[in-house]
């Protein structure tokens, strides 16, 4: 079981194997906690969301059809659980945009190796444009989900996406 692929683990979980869930948890809980923490400062909420996420994995394992990485599937569940919390209660704000300082030159170089000019172009977008890209492209939310998250109308999300794409295209050509 320790060497099973993520796909195989999910199949076992679909058959009720709690041991497989444990292995999956050990592999994925860590990064999920970290990634959710970047979006929500409240530790208790993140803990509950992680718990809910793996409970949903347990119950919904049958519905995973093998499309895409298991990690991406887990993230899709997790981010939506977090979104539910934000919708339901008044919680500290969604941490969007600048969590910290400007990227260092070294970081930009490193990213340049992976993403080329895109990284620089992204960085030059305004925070509000970057946050819609983050919500839709990175976190995989739909336009209406992103709208709910950022507290802006759907139409605004769409128009910002259009602007962002245009700016990126211009920056890259």
């Amino acid at each position: 079981m320790r060497n099973a692929s993520n796909q195989q683990l999910v199949s076992s979980i679909a058959e009720g194997d709690a041991g497989a869930l444990r292995v999956l948890y050990e592999r994925h809980a860590g990064w999920l906690i970290a990634r959710l923490t970047r979006r929500c400062a409240d530790q208790a909420i993140v803990d509950e969301v992680v718990q809910d996420t793996f409970l949903a994995v347990w119950r919904g394992a049958r519905r995973y059809r093998g499309e895409g990485e298991v990690a991406a599937w887990i993230w899709g569940i997790g981010i939506r659980r977090l979104l539910d919390r934000f919708r339901r209660r008044r919680v500290p704000e969604w941490r969007s945009g600048d969590a910290g300082s400007e990227p260092s030159a070294e970081e930009l170089v490193l990213l340049g190796i992976e993403h080329g000019d895109l990284a620089g172009a992204l960085d030059r977008l305004s925070p509000e444009l970057r946050s819609v890209i983050s919500a839709t492209v990175l976190d995989g939310l739909t336009t209406s989900e992103a709208a709910a998250l950022l507290g802006i109308p759907s139409g605004t999300v769409k128009s910002r996406l259009v602007r962002a794409r245009r700016e990126l295209r211009e920056a890259l050509t």
Binding site: W31, A34, L55, E69, A99, E114
Partner: protein, 266 residues
Amino acid sequence: MTWHIDDRMLALYLDGRMSDVPAFSLETHVLACADCRRKVADGVDSQREEQIWQRLLDSLGQSELRPGERFLSGLGVPAHVARLLALTPSVGLSWVLSVAAALAFAVFASHGLGGPMPFLVLAPLIPVLGVVVSYQRRLDPLYEIGIASPVGGFRLMLMRATAVLMASIVVAAVASLGIPEIRFSAVWLLPALFLTVLTLILSTVMQTASAAVVASAIWVGGVITAEVVASEPYIVFGATAQLVFAVLAVLLMAGLIGRRDSFEVI
């Protein structure tokens, strides 16, 4: 994979000091790289991870609440009782649907025949049927283990019978709204109660299914005889009859309690 996360990047990220764009890259990368996932996991507090897992284990065992359970809990039934009942064969959606269908038919028949009699005869028989479905002693695989437990046969039977009776009353009440003459006068209610207790007490001396047949026969036979013989129609549902049903129900209930031992041992 052209690059992986190094310790410095990891520290920045976990401390929340990494800016957006590098973080995008890192997060996208993590989705596809098991080694870097492990790296990130090492940086997260393992005690915290373990605590979350323990809480998860607890909720795993509960499995999903069955629909009946949620409904019953909503009505204020204690969680463990709701669980016991929700796992009973009859208190389920398919039973409710078939009962609703039967009663709907009775409602139409009543309109067709110009009187509520079909409905009034059928409604009190619904809980009788429910009792048979929910408490077939010999057919319940957990029968022996059940009676060897402190909740035992009698208490469990009472819980199930009450649940069945309540469910039947609700469905019948809703169906009765379709018949103007009897809309809010629950004249079928006391007969239903009487027949349920009668079936239960008969089941102490014969098979549950036979008890149901006998009780149903007594009821239908009684109603028909009354209609043919008596001077006024619907006498079985009149005020005097209601009183008789109430008294009989109480007496039979006392009798049932007196016969409780028959539910407690094979």
